[in-house]
Symmetry: C2
Subunit: 359 residues, 2 copies
DNA sequence: ACAGTGTAGGCAATCGATTGTTCACCCCTC
DNA sequence: GAGGGGTGAACAATCGATTGCCTACACTGT
């Protein structure tokens, strides 16, 4: 239906290549002002729009980025995708999306599909610490950037939160409130986010000398990145002889699940148990109690990742260092002073959020 | 880098067209079993994957759907997109996403870009009741399906919630709780969702004879689909001489804003004012109070929309009727009996969600 | 031995745009 | 008036896959 270059060239009485050069503002063009005007006018009149499929075939560039995400219905990834799309659109790039649900099979399938589609580069939010699919991309020389999660060791094409610093800050926040029996609901340990936050937890407790409980190991529970995992892990923690007075959950969803488990057990947050999350999903502030958490600049993470990829793809500029985005402690109502064994003072902080940087 | 058909044909000592027919399982193929095997083996060995850009140029089909959405960071649209992507992936289609922020300029630009990319069809969640861009698509014969919002009059290629029935059910729920001074925080009236829910509100009150207040007109306030709009509208309502005892907000975000305004004014939900939302975003149940709302099958809406589009695009089957998805009343804690003017009984319902269909 | 009829594949055009190379002029100059 | 240098624009070959149409060759029957 839309007019093609050839049809236009017929109308203009010129050769297609001449028309192409005119519309292209080809620097090497030698076209009379007269003919140029005629062509430009015709193009405007007929609303000529180049067929980008044909262009891509010839130029080997599609102006499309492939995005692999566990689940776009998860607001965390939705926010990141928004950032990616914003940055891509700014340079006239489009994004094509695939959900993997964290299943390697789907991941491989989607990856193959995207490559068949000749995307110019890939944004992957699905990396595991040791990821064969990503090693393959590397080997094949496909441009890509890792978002949110990175591989081991971390590579320059990674744009991730500073998970370790964030984990340290989260645990230090709890320590500063007087907590000593601090638990961690960990995420998948084959993901850098899950691994680093757990490592930060262990290291920080050790540094503080707060890891000397007989059952300290039981305080690090394997949960998941989702609400159910947080709920189950918390249930486990509540069954301990001496339960923790504070919990650092690997992310907000797990924290949410933990809070449900706590209140279901008839306990209160934060009076009996404090809970801190990670990410600061937009609804974290609407929960009850509102959630203390480590804020990750989600949208910016998407933006930066896409920008880096475009720098590689369009400008051929490869990043030299991974980008660690600073995370910020947001204190709300789900954390409070450690319960005093010998007193009933349950002081609560004001609800206004105070912030400070994690690093 | 990947091997092409021509290279493969050289290796097999056969003509490219022969190779193509073999790999294609062309029904008309007349190829010896021997050669066929040789070709298939080579293709497997070299992991031949057809270049879909080249294929698209030739076949004029890209196996890509374009999706236009106001904002993917809004969980409502994220859920719908997930449904679309799921349904598309099932038929080996991909989706390419563009955010419009409800700005006609961005919408037009993205639409043009997607068309340049030769998408096979469009999924639009951005329709206004009178939408020139959509009229243009219709005129140009581009296959598309409208999601969530439809045009006036509604067309068969629409997949939307049953907003009118949902609005009626919401207001009837409030009426059944004894409320008579019921307000509505309306959404944009140039969107079918905003318009129909407001119309349902007016109609239902009229039918019930509950619209006879001197300042009834002031109870229908222009808000927006976002939290801030709900907050502002509610502030306006609270300033009335006689404020409403219940509010039907056009969606959950507006309801959230309304609740904030109410509590900021020192009033309680639902004891002083009941609030009902629309959509049942996944976090609606985590709020305080948990939100009574009209549940829309968001994911399914995305699925059905994509399926319909694919039926058109792949099978040439055009829908005969628009699809109105049933919405369900979910009763939670944000609605309760109308306050008795002469008594202080503030009975609360149990918090477990009860449901019934809206139509 | 020859027309007839399959059978196994090759030919070549096409999709629409891009781009290195060539060509036909014209004007100048010596 | 032949060679030189510029111009302005056409030529033609891609990019990789698809597909309608042909052509060899073999075999059959008479």
């Amino acid at each position: 239906m839309p007019i093609t270059l050839k049809q236009l060239s017929l109308l203009a009485g010129a050769h297609p290549s001449t028309v192409a050069r005119v519309l292209h503002a080809d620097p090497r063009q030698r076209v009379s002002a007269d003919l140029r005007e005629r062509i430009l006018t015709l193009a405007r009149e007929h609303d000529y729009r180049p067929n980008s499929v044909a262009r891509s075939l010839r130029t080997k560039r599609t102006a499309v980025l492939g995005v692999l995400i566990p689940d776009i219905a998860n607001p965390f990834f939705a926010g990141a995708l928004r950032g990616m799309e914003d940055a891509a659109a700014e340079r006239e790039y489009s994004v094509i999306l695939a959900n993997t649900d964290d299943q390697p099979t789907r991941e491989a399938h989607s990856l193959a599909l995207l490559r068949d589609r000749q995307v110019d580069g890939l944004l992957l939010a699905t990396a595991r610490l040791h990821d064969p699919a990503i090693a393959q991309l590397q080997a094949d020389g496909i441009p890509f950037v890792l978002v949110n999660r990175h591989t081991d060791p971390i590579t320059p094409n990674s744009v991730v939160p500073d998970d370790y610093a964030g984990g340290v800050a989260a645990v230090e926040h709890l320590l500063s409130l007087g907590h000593r029996r601090i638990a961690h609901i960990a995420g998948a340990q084959d993901a850098s986010t899950g691994y680093l936050r757990a490592k930060a937890y262990r290291d920080t407790l050790k540094t503080a000398g707060a890891d000397q409980f007989p059952d300290q190991d039981a305080l690090l529970v394997r949960g998941s990145f989702r609400e159910q995992g947080g709920y189950n892990a918390m249930t486990e923690l509540l069954a301990l002889r001496e339960r923790p007075t504070a919990v650092f959950a690997v992310n907000d969803l797990a924290a949410l699940g933990a809070i449900h488990a706590i209140t279901a057990a008839g306990l209160r947050v934060p009076q009996d148990i404090s809970v801190i999350g990670f990410n600061d999903l937009f609804h974290a502030s609407h929960m009850t109690p509102s959630l203390t958490t480590m804020q990750v600049p989600i949208h910016m993470m998407g933006v930066r990742a896409a920008q880096r990829l475009l720098d590689m793809v369009v400008d051929g500029v490869a990043p030299e260092q991974p980008l660690l985005l600073p995370v910020t402690l947001i204190v709300r109502d789900s954390t409070g002073p450690a319960p005093q064994t010998n007193t009933s003072s349950h002081a609560r902080k004001p609800s206004g959020a105070r912030t400070r940087h994690a690093d």
